[in-house]
Symmetry: C2
Subunit: 512 residues, 2 copies
């Protein structure tokens, strides 16, 4: 219990804490993928670990996610599926696809450590089926373990780096029955590993603010449990891992206003509290405008048509990562997008055994000619006609010089035609957050780590600076979550480059 | 002098300050438009004011700017030039043009107070010539005082609010000789007003961090002058007004990476230090990705042609505010833009007496046919042809249904044709910064004002959330600068809505 009766994000001086309700070497806030990974590594480093979770169970947004983990550089799964990859190739792709403005050191560490991270996940009990799913889709339809998940095999990235699929999906026991997501099959073994290590967890705990000593070192957390304020002492360090700010309306309005009113693929607990707590002790932020954006349409349908904006113009190769389509739609096309297909393409998509059933959409308009269709759609007469003419002119030979859609999906569009209204059909979650080192130390605006404070997952700016690939969040959340756990426990990663520069983060806690 | 020998952005406890080198009721950091406006109002409210300026003179970025001040709602200048306007019309325009995500309370206060603010500037000695400049351009060519400066009279905003010009430009004594900018003619009378009020100024002073008392109240500033650290006590409040972070590479990379390497219209002193100092005491931020973007081409040339992206597609009405063209080019078209004109249009622009001479550009390519031109430009064969065909189809009757360019600038393009390469021809400055109230109190991440801390100008998120209009920065910098001065002096604005909610900001300083 503390001397204060009201909670606030203002940091609490340790001197104001009358007594500690809980104590541990490492206190982890949030039991999603980043928190679980941090807990495992901190415990393995010999720390006594306590996880504080707002809900009544483990899982976070991760357990509800599709389960992609973005890994590469030549993982055992990639090799088993017959794909070559290297850390350098992966790094070239991520630098292009997730930028501009990526944290180069973080991307490099992530790519260099990716093979080992895959092995670590397998060692924790995560199962990946060595089978590749190569059809357009948001997720594999079966329980295949590997898939393209960032547009690696589509223009313009094929010119940047040799394509390799890096979307690693934990195998589901009974996916077609819809029982559990790949994210659940990731979190279950991680949570079991956490438990087997003797890590304690307190549930129904909402963290409120950090406790600091007079030197500014973070030595604990103030939280609320069952309406009561509790004080939790962290002898070595606090790891913040409570997720994004997608459901904090004020923050979304201030930092990512295009996302206002369209959160998705995140859970309502994503209220940005970790970011707020960090800011209150002077933590820096990065890429607060970045967001993952989904477009709600079956990729099988999209590849067979052309996507046009409100002026009837194409803007994206329709066979790329659908999340890239969503981002371009929202950020560059004012959320004004239509899919134009012909009857043959629509029928083929509907008949596809790998269609994403819940994202199938019925035509909004059907017409015999493009001229009739553009009139129905409210487009300028002639605009869509000239777009279709240019597309068809090259499609007869399977080419798409304008945007580089792969030949297998390029066919002239012939009547009858249909269009699907995708205006506003986007949702997603925020990617920006606390600025951290490659060792998951939270950086003060001075540029130095804040002693005792670590963070990972979507409350941090991770490997993305704006662009996205499915699996980047579970990927950097688990990868840098592990590093947060090790750093908080006082064990530094060999690959860590910030160790020498920031000796303070290695010092023993001032409140032992 | 202080007990510390090294400076850092970490806030300094007042107890660590051995002695104060300077003292004042209100300490203003930065002698640009926001700082000068703050100093005037604080002094008029009876406060003893000290301005700390990094350079050896007054002016800041403002004195080097074109001088637009975005004002409206029916100013004396608007009325003298025969234009009707109202605060509601102005508010509707700004909400659409500067959004999404604008601070509604700030926009409302700004529009409601705009007429009074114009009168205040005139009362300070700023001269506006009651003449309207109606030609396309970045600035008026002569010394006219009023101009459209945000696309008010162009699509799509004509459908949002009745157009009124709101770019107010101080009259230059000898503009054609290029002696002094409109910004200088704004700053000179403001600086004279500051001096006449007995405000002191210390020059060659670089602020480093804030001094706080044990309750978190800001009570002073640590700075460097001639290499020595000095401590400056603020008995009532500190006003931060040192400008944007356009020249802070790390911040640009973290928050606005598309602006990396292209700062412009700002001065190198814009290093983000006020934002850093605020963050270090837990201040919140907003709209850190927002930026003003200029495109380096004479608007007289642009209106007579068509602007196309790297796919040969039009994307903007060429007769809108050129800053909007710049923003769309950089943020939505990947900085890939070309201007296509015909010989007649090029010659007419070159002959225009209102051309912006230093932004005239020679054709990059000249060809007899569009087919030849698109080949020279490296565009997909047929792409530009279909764009020109569609444009010409409507242009014969003076229409532009695709983008709504005004009839006076719509003419069919006929050969010979020229294209100007505008790829990468953008630059600008950042618009995001500290989150403040309508009374220019700096907000803590808790949502409450930080006692004793105020800010205005481009170190704050002002009326823009992303969009821009020329004059918005000198406009909100001076407007909310005045409020910062009044708030710091302890005098609240009648229009202030946050007064009652934040009684702490009115409290007497704890170190009197």
């Amino acid at each position: 219990m503390t001397t204060s009766t009201t909670s606030s994000v203002h940091p609490r001086p340790a001197a104001d804490v009358a007594s500690w309700d809980h104590e541990a070497d490492v206190v982890v806030a949030g039991y999603g993928v980043a928190g679980a990974s941090a807990a495992i590594e901190a415990a393995r480093a010999g720390a006594d670990v306590l996880v504080l979770e707002r809900t009544s169970g483990w899982g976070g947004a991760a357990a509800l996610a599709g389960g992609f983990i973005y890994l590469g550089g030549g993982t055992a799964l990639q090799r088993a599926c017959g794909f070559e990859d290297s850390p350098a190739t992966m790094q070239a792709f991520l630098t292009a696809a997730l930028g501009p403005g990526v944290d180069g050191a973080k991307i490099e560490a992530y790519c260099q450590g990716s093979v080992e991270h895959y092995d670590w996940l397998v060692d924790c009990g995560v199962v990946f089926k060595p089978e590749f799913f190569g059809e357009p889709g948001w997720e594999s339809v079966g329980d295949e373990g590997l898939m393209y998940s960032g547009g690696e095999n589509a223009a313009p990235f094929t010119a940047v780096a040799t394509p390799a699929p890096r979307g690693h999906v934990p195998q589901m026991a009974n996916k077609r029955a819809g029982e559990k997501s790949g994210g659940y099959m990731l979190m279950k073994p991680l949570a079991e590993t956490v438990a087997a290590l003797g890590v304690r967890a307190e549930h129904d705990v909402r963290v409120q603010t950090l406790v600091t000593d007079p030197d500014g070192r973070v030595v604990g957390v103030i939280a609320k449990q069952y309406g009561q304020e509790i004080a939790v002492r962290a002898r070595r360090g606090v790891v913040l891992a409570t997720g994004s700010f997608a459901y904090n309306d004020q923050m979304v309005q201030s930092f990512a206003p295009l996302m206002a009113g369209r959160p998705g693929s995140a859970i309502e607990e994503h209220d940005g509290i970790s970011i707020r707590m960090g800011q209150a002790v002077g933590a820096d932020l990065a890429h607060m405008d970045a967001a993952e954006v989904a477009i709600h349409c079956d990729p099988q349908l999209m590849v067979r048509g052309i996507l046009v904006n409100g002026r009837g113009q194409r803007f994206v190769p329709e066979d790329t990562y659908p999340g890239r389509i969503g981002q371009l739609a929202l950020f560059q096309q004012d959320n004004q997008v239509f899919l134009v297909v012909d009857e043959a393409g629509y029928a083929a998509a509907a008949a596809s055994p790998t269609a994403t059933r819940h994202l199938r959409r019925k035509p909004t308009w059907v017409c015999e000619t493009v001229a009739e269709l553009e009139a129905e759609m409210g487009l300028v007469a002639g605009a869509l006609e000239s777009t279709v003419e240019l597309y068809n002119r090259y499609a007869v030979t399977g080419e798409d010089p304008l945007l580089g859609k792969k030949a297998e999906w390029v066919k002239p569009l012939t009547g009858p035609f249909a269009a699907i209204d995708l205006r506003g059909a986007t949702s997603g979650f925020t990617l920006g957050g606390l600025r951290t080192t490659v060792d998951s130390e939270v950086l003060h605006v001075s540029g130095e780590p804040i002693p005792g404070l670590f963070a990972a997952g979507r409350c941090t700016a991770g490997i993305s600076a704006g662009g996205y690939a499915s699996g980047a969040s579970l990927g950097d959340g688990s990868f840098f979550g592990r590093r947060a756990g090790r750093s908080a426990a006082g064990t530094r990663t060999a690959a860590g480059t910030s160790t020498a520069a920031h000796p303070r983060a290695e010092a023993e806690p001032s409140l032992g």
